[in-house]
């Protein structure tokens, strides 16, 4: 119940992360993330930065030390998804192993160690399997886009049936909630999410049991908690149903073997017990209940995984993106310099959810292997809205630093270029000016000059054609987005000149030059 409530809260926050009519999002949609000790720890270690909001993670830490993994069982919204789907798959045979098998619970601890070892060297891998990142990303890049697509389909059905009123209500809702429909990796992210859910058919709460590094961290913290399993020996008939149905292999029976670090307090055992002999009490077992039954992590394996985590780092870094900026990698405004950005971004996709134009997309190869799922602006899909700074407001780790709109408007995320061999006035000698018209800065960064074009018949035509004032261009990409040469726009943005980078620069600011010389109206 509690978990369903938190899942609902997650949804409310998630849906709330868009342009509601206010420039600033009042509710802190990213707050969930701040209770996540894994993200807090990895961000702290990998980026070597203290991010104050993560103080909330201490609440989770204290709660876990005292009460055990109640977070996993009662709070975690991804846990809720797994709990529910485990329940739904209870009777299915699909994927179910023919014999009861018990894979090692240690996997998630090894995953955790790889993540932590990587973090030591500045590599942030937490986001790939962290439950909040995984869930938010899956929802932002595939579940909600899928939903929006389905709603569009439904809308067409209503239209076909002549029920235009309902059809129109749906389309107004899509606009009101800004449900982005297009994501480059939407399919892959969706398949991974469905896969993670399907695994529950193989084993209840498969993710929580074997994969979740956050669960592993909380497991380590909860070995000595005081909220203990209690079995009433007088009622217990030693049937073993509790252990058989335990969602996380915490082994409630026999009680001496109960693994306090695995128990997520879902209370399935208490519910299934035919004699209602099972309960949880604070310090209900002061006698010699030790942690002997917790997961054994062999020293050799621990060393091996630490080693793996460390040696993985150089492999992640064998990419040109650390040598030279990638031209397509246009980071959201307010992003930290690339190295810091990669160390802080947890790939949750919240910024892509909030982007009103759908322009923020998950990177695949543009930022190297450690940058998969990190946000980048793809102007062909959507541009950076001039008066919007929502992406900077929803970032849970400060990889994109919070910006007021006034400050954001001065940040340059890239530079626009004209491809004169495709531009309509330059090539066809016909009027266009669409890019200039849309340029949001004042004075405009796109100027029009008269250009003479020779047409195929040899005649010369003079037409207004765009040239770019790079001092004024912010790289928002609306010119590329609106260019009528749709397939490969005749005006396009690349990352060069971005404010955040000292290396990816174009115009040197020399002392005495203000860069505002082109503004005659100031």
């Amino acid at each position: 119940m509690s978990q369903a409530g938190f899942f609902g809260l997650f949804l409310v926050f998630f849906i709330g992360a868009h342009y509601t009519g206010q420039d600033y999002i009042s509710s802190t949609v990213q707050r969930f993330f701040h209770f996540d000790p894994l993200l807090a720890l990895v961000t702290l270690v990998a980026a070597r930065l203290v991010y104050a909001s993560f103080v909330f993670a201490l609440i989770t830490v204290v709660a876990t030390v005292v009460l055990g993994r109640v977070f996993c069982g009662w709070v975690c919204p991804l846990g809720a998804v797994h709990q529910f789907s485990s329940f739904a798959f209870e009777k299915t045979k699909f994927l179910r192993p023919p014999r009861e098998e018990r894979a090692s619970l240690a996997w998630k601890y090894y995953i955790l160690i790889i993540v932590l070892a990587g973090a030591l060297l500045g590599l942030d891998l937490a986001g790939y399997l962290d439950p909040f990142s995984f869930l938010t990303r899956s929802f932002a890049l595939s579940v909600f886009p899928g939903l929006a697509y389905a709603l569009s389909g439904l809308k067409s059905v209503f239209y076909a049936l002549g029920i235009t009123g309902t059809g129109r209500s749906i389309s107004q809702l899509l606009e009101n909630w800004t449900l982005n429909e297009t994501f480059i990796q939407g399919f892959a992210v969706g398949i991974l999410f469905l896969g993670a859910i399907a695994l529950n058919a193989r084993k209840e709460r498969f993710w929580c049991r074997y994969l979740c590094p956050t669960g592993a961290l909380l497991g380590l913290l909860s070995r000595w908690n005081v909220l203990k399993l209690r079995i009433d020996d007088e009622k217990c008939i030693n049937c073993g149903l509790c252990t058989q149905h335990c969602e996380t292999q915490a082994n409630p029976y026999p009680r001496e073997k109960w693994r306090s670090g695995e128990c997520v307090y879902c209370e399935t055992c208490a519910a299934i017990c035919p004699t209602a002999a099972i309960g949880f009490t604070l310090n209900g077992a002061p006698e010699k209940l030790t942690n002997v039954s917790n997961v054994d992590l062999s020293r050799r394996r621990l060393l091996l995984t630490t080693f793996l985590g460390l040696v993985a780092v150089p492999f992640f870094r064998l990419t040109p993106s650390h040598k030279r900026a990638s031209l397509k990698l246009i980071r959201p405004p307010g992003s930290l310099p690339e190295d810091k950005f990669l160390a802080k971004c947890v790939k949750c996709g919240q910024c892509m959810r909030a982007c009103p134009t759908n322009g923020l997309q998950p990177a695949l190869t543009e930022a190297g292997p450690e940058g998969i799922y990190t946000p980048m602006l793809v102007p062909k899909i959507g541009y950076c809205e001039y008066y919007c700074s929502l992406c900077t407001q929803v970032c849970p780790t400060g990889a994109i630093q919070k910006q007021t709109i006034e400050v954001k408007n001065k940040i340059k995320i890239g530079s626009a270029w004209v491809n004169k061999s495709r531009c309509i006035p330059y090539v066809l000698g016909k009027p266009c000016i669409v890019c200039e018209e849309h340029c949001p800065v004042s004075p405009k960064a796109i100027k029009l000059i008269e250009v003479e074009t020779k047409l195929p018949d040899g005649k010369a035509v003079v037409q207004k054609a765009p040239v770019i004032d790079l001092e004024l261009c912010t790289g928002c990409g609306i010119c590329e987005n609106k260019c009528p040469v749709v397939d490969d726009p005749a005006i396009f943005v690349t990352s060069v000149g971005e404010t955040r980078s000292e290396r990816n620069r174009l115009l040197l600011q020399v002392a005495g030059e203000t860069g505002q010389a082109t503004d005659p109206y100031k």
Binding site: Y387, C432, E437, V486
Partner: protein, 299 residues
Amino acid sequence: MNRRDFLKGLAAGSAALRFGPALLGGATSPQAAGPHLAVVEGESPAAITKEAIAVLGGMKRFVRKGDKVLIKPNIGWDRTPEMAACTNPEVVKALVELVQEAGAKSVTVIDNTTNQAKRCYVRSGILDAVRSTGAAMPYADETRVKKTALKGEWLKEWDILTDVLEADKIINVPIAKHHSLCRLTMGMKNWLGAIGGARNQLHQNLDRAMVDLTAFFKPTLTVLDAYRILVRNGPQGGRVSDTKLVKTVVAGVDPVAVDAMGATFFEIRPQELLYLKLAQERGLGTFELEKLRVEKRKI
């Protein structure tokens, strides 16, 4: 009676009013006693709007009881009113109120925006202004367009907003702005916001597209907001210093005449604007202001 029938009636019954000066050289007819253009200046955008309509004979002259009325402001950009990129919200609201008072069955305010629709609706102040009147203000989207034969000289067919197609009367409420291709965007250019499709391709022959669209839509009334006009960096500006306070509203039946009057605020002679010339040649109205009865008031 639908809009088209009404317009035919209007054209027949008051041909002198619409085309009289151009065609008949100022011959008088019973209705021609009223002014062709109302130009009202004053401090309150709402008051000058209402006064301008009163000068033309009141909204009842244009809207009948039970009409479905569509009001088409320019809400194209994610800009606040002091940037003069979108129609003044008070002007829009005043018109909605007048139309409602005239007994319209329903009033819809819509624009196919350039920036994100919701941002434009909200930050222009128009959504807030219209909401208090109870008029509908839906977002334009791909379900609200219909491929329609325009029978234009250049545009044969295009996607048109169904809300506009279904309306009995349409009132165009543009704002006067600088534009680097057609020089000034006012009423005729505002029709690019009542259509869907790849609008950015119309720029290759923008003036003729504007004429074809104006000929198709045949607004019942055009009310040009020149309270704060955009004199440079158009059509969206970006700074208050790009704007100029003129504190005027121009209203009229002739869409060409209204735009011609608007041009004077920019110190541009109407005959310099190609689309006005083309529109007059097409018989959509006249830009020759000296042949029109213009009533100027200051309140």
